[in-house]
C-alpha cells in the first residue's frame, strides 16, 4: 500500500495539472465562466432557503437560527462529498482511452475528480465565511476547519477508489448511486439539527461517518465551539481504514480495468 501511495504522490504534478484542466474545461464556453463556482452554491442555498424559510417557516429549533447559515454550513461540504462520489463513478469509463493507450496510473482519474470538487468547495468557502462573519458567528473555532475537511477528503478518496473501479464492471452503480446519495443526505444532519433526531434513531445514524463530519462543520462554523472531538477522531480512523481498503481494492482490480473499460 505504501507503494501505491508513493505512486500517487509521484503523480501529484499530473493530478494538479488535470485538476486545473478540469476546472478550465468545465466552464469553457459559458458566459460567467469561473463565477459558476460561486454562483452554484448560492443558487442552491437560495432554493433550499425558499423552501425552509418561506414555504415551511418556523419549524426550526433555536439551535438552527439563522437557518440559512446553518444549512449553508452543511450543504457546502455535502455537495463536495456527493459530487465526488457521483462523478467518480463514471470517470474510468470516460477516461478509458487514457487507461488503454497511455501508461497511466488509473487511480489518478478518481483522485482528480475528488480534487476538482475540493477546488469548488474551497471557492465556495469564502462565501460561507463571509455569511458567518456577517451573522456574527465566526469564532476562533473556525480555525479547526481543516480537521473535518481532511477527514472528509480521506474518506471520500477511499470511497471513490471502490466506486470508480466497481462501476467499470457493474455499470448499474451509476444509476443506483444517485438514489443512494439521496438517502445518505437525509441520514446526515444537513437539513436538521442532530439533537432533534429521536434518540433511538440517533443510535443508528451515529454509524454514518458523514454524521460526525457534518456536526463538526456545524459546530466550528455555526455554533462557534467545537465539542465533537471524539466523534471526529473516530471518524478519522474509519476514514483511514476506508482509504487503505479502497486503494487495495482498486489495485486488485487494476489489471481488469484496461481490458474492461
Amino acid at each position: 500500500m505504501i507503494a501505491q501511495i508513493r505512486t500517487l504522490f509521484r503523480y501529484r504534478l499530473l493530478v494538479q495539472s488535470l485538476v486545473g484542466r478540469e476546472l478550465k474545461a468545465r466552464y469553457r464556453g459559458s458566459v460567467l465562466g469561473f463565477f459558476w463556482s460561486f454562483i452554484n452554491p448560492l443558487l442552491q442555498l437560495l432554493t433550499y432557503g425558499l423552501v425552509f424559510t418561506v414555504i415551511l417557516p418556523g419549524r426550526h429549533s433555536p439551535e438552527m437560527q439563522p437557518y440559512l447559515l446553518f444549512f449553508f454550513c452543511g450543504i457546502l461540504p455535502w455537495t463536495f462529498f456527493q459530487s465526488s462520489l457521483v462523478e467518480s463513478s463514471g470517470v474510468l469509463i470516460a477516461g478509458g482511452n487514457l487507461i488503454k493507450k497511455v501508461l497511466f496510473p488509473a487511480e489518478v482519474l478518481p483522485v482528480v475528480t475528488v480534487f476538482s470538487n475540493l477546488a469548488h468547495f474551497l471557492l465556495g468557502l469564502p462565501i460561507l465565511l463571509a455569511f458567518a462573519l456577517y451573522a456574527g458567528r465566526l469564532k476562533p473555532a473556525a480555525l479547526l476547519l481543516p480537521l473535518p475537511l481532511l477527514v472528509q477528503l480521506v474518506l471520500t478518496l477511499g470511497l471513490v477508489f471502490v466506486i470508480s473501479a466497481l462501476t467499470v464492471h457493474f455499470r448499474d452503480i451509476q444509476s443506483i448511486l444517485g438514489h443512494l446519495m439521496h438517502l445518505w443526505f437525509f441520514a446526515s444532519p444537513v437539513l436538521y439539527y442532530h439533537q432533534d433526531v429521536p434518540e433511538r434513531v440517533r443510535q443508528v445514524l451515529r454509524f454514518n461517518p458523514m454524521w460526525h463530519i457534518m456536526i463538526s462543520y456545524q459546530e466550528m462554523l455555526f455554533h462557534g465551539s467545537f465539542q465533537h472531538w471524539r466523534g471526529l477522531l473516530l471518524t478519522g480512523a474509519v476514514a483511514l481504514v476506508t482509504f487503505g481498503v479502497g486503494l487495495l481494492f482498486f489495485d486488485r482490480l487494476r489489471d481488469t480495468l484496461a481490458e474492461e473499460v
Partner: protein
Amino acid sequence: MSTLAALASGVAVSARDVTKVYRRFLHKHQFRTLKSALLTGSLLSDLRPDQTFTAVDGVSFDVPRGSTFGVIGENGSGKSTLLKLAAGITRPTRGRLVVEGRVSALIELGAGFHPEISGRENVYINGIMLGLTRRQVEERFDEIVAFAELERFIDAPVKTYSSGMYARLGFAVAIHVDPDVLLIDEVLAVGDEAFTRKCLDKIGEFRRRGKTIVIVTHSLALVEKMCDDVLWLRHGRVADHGDPKRVVDAYLTYVAGGEDALLAQEHAQAAEAPAEPAETEDEGRYRQGRWGSRDVEITSVRLLDDGGRERHVFVPGESLTVELAVEARQPVEDFVFGIGVFTSDGVSVYGTNTDIEDFKAEGAAGRGTVRFVVQELSLVEGTYLLDVAAHRRDGTPYDYHRGLYSFRVKSRTKDVGLYRPRHRWEFAGGVRVSPPAPRAELDLHDLDDGEGQPPLPDDDKPAR
C-alpha cells in the same frame, strides 16, 4: 539468461516466456447487477473470466540497447498486445518483461488530449502525463510546437484541430519526451507524407543517438529499411526472429502461401463446375463460364513453375507454364488451342492461339498434353484471370473455359500498368543517383516445404 542478467548486459528490453491471456466475459455476467452479486456473494467470482484468449503466447526476445526492433505479423497476431506489455499498460499473465530506462509509447497519438482546452495547455498536460516535469515541458515547448508546425494554432482549443494536426501534436509531444526506449505502434500512417517523412527523420535521429526503438508495423519496407532485428508473430507465438530481410521474406512467403491456398481452392471449384450452356456473349463484361461441344475436352488445367510444381502465386520474371490435359473423343484434324490472360476487371492483357501463330493442326486422338510456356512473366502485381480454349479454326468451340482460372503476381516493386517490359535506367551528366539496395524478389519456390519453414538466407543470389 534471466531478464535481469540480460538487462545488465546491454539489453534494453528483455522478454522471457511472456504470455498474455485476455479474459472474455459472457453477456449474462456482463449485465449481472451489483445487487445480485452482493446477495449471492459472488462478486469476486463474477470478476473471473468465462473464456480466455491467449493474445501473446510464450514470447521471449531481447532488444539490445541502441538497436531498432521490428515486430510484424498479421492482424490479431498479438503485435499490439506485445507493445502494450512493453509499455506497462497491461501486465503479462505469465513470464517477465523488463524494460530499462524511460519508456515512451506512441500507441495512439494525442490519446490524452482534452478537446476543450488549448493546444498549449494540452502540450503541458500530455508532457506531464508522459513523465516530464513542468520545467522540462517549458524548455521543450517551442521545439514541440515547431515540430508539429502548429505555431499559429497552438492557443486554439484542440477540438478545432484537424485529425492531422491532432496527430502531429501528439507525435511531437511524445517524441520530445526523449525516452530511452521508444515504442511505436503503426502510428506513422497518420498525417501527410511530408510529416511522415519528418517523423521518420526524427526516429532516424533517435537511432543515431543510440536510443532503443521497438516498432510494430505493417510496412515491411520500413521494417527492412530501419530495423536491426525483426520478430514475426503468428497467433501470438514467435514464428521467426532475426535478420530483417530473411524474416520479411519468410513472412511474405507465408502470406503468399495463404493466398496460394485460397486460389487453389477456387481452382478446384472451377474444375468441378458443371458445364454451362454457351451464353450470349456479353460484350464489355467479362463473365466466367464454360461451353463447347466437348469433342475435344480440356480435362484439367494446371499452372506450373519452372520446376514443374503447381503454383498460383508468381513473381515477375519467373517462368509460368499453363498445362492443359486434353482428350479428343474422336480423332479430329481441325483444332486450335488458345490462351487468354485478363486482369481481374476483365481487361485483356494478352491472347494468342496456335492458329494465329501458324501451327498446322495434323491430328488429335485420345489423351494428350498441351503446354503454354511463358519464359519470363512480364506482368505487374495483381490478380489475373485465365481463358483456355480448344476450338475449330472457324471458331466453333470444342471446349471453352472462360476466366475459370486465376493466378496472382506478387511483387515488391510497386510499378503500375499491365505489362512490365524488361528495362533498365541510365543516368548521365549532372544526374547522380545511388542504386537501389539489392533485394531479391520473393522466393516462392519453397512454398511446399511445409508451413513455418522459412527459406534459408541466400545472400549471394543476384537481384532479379
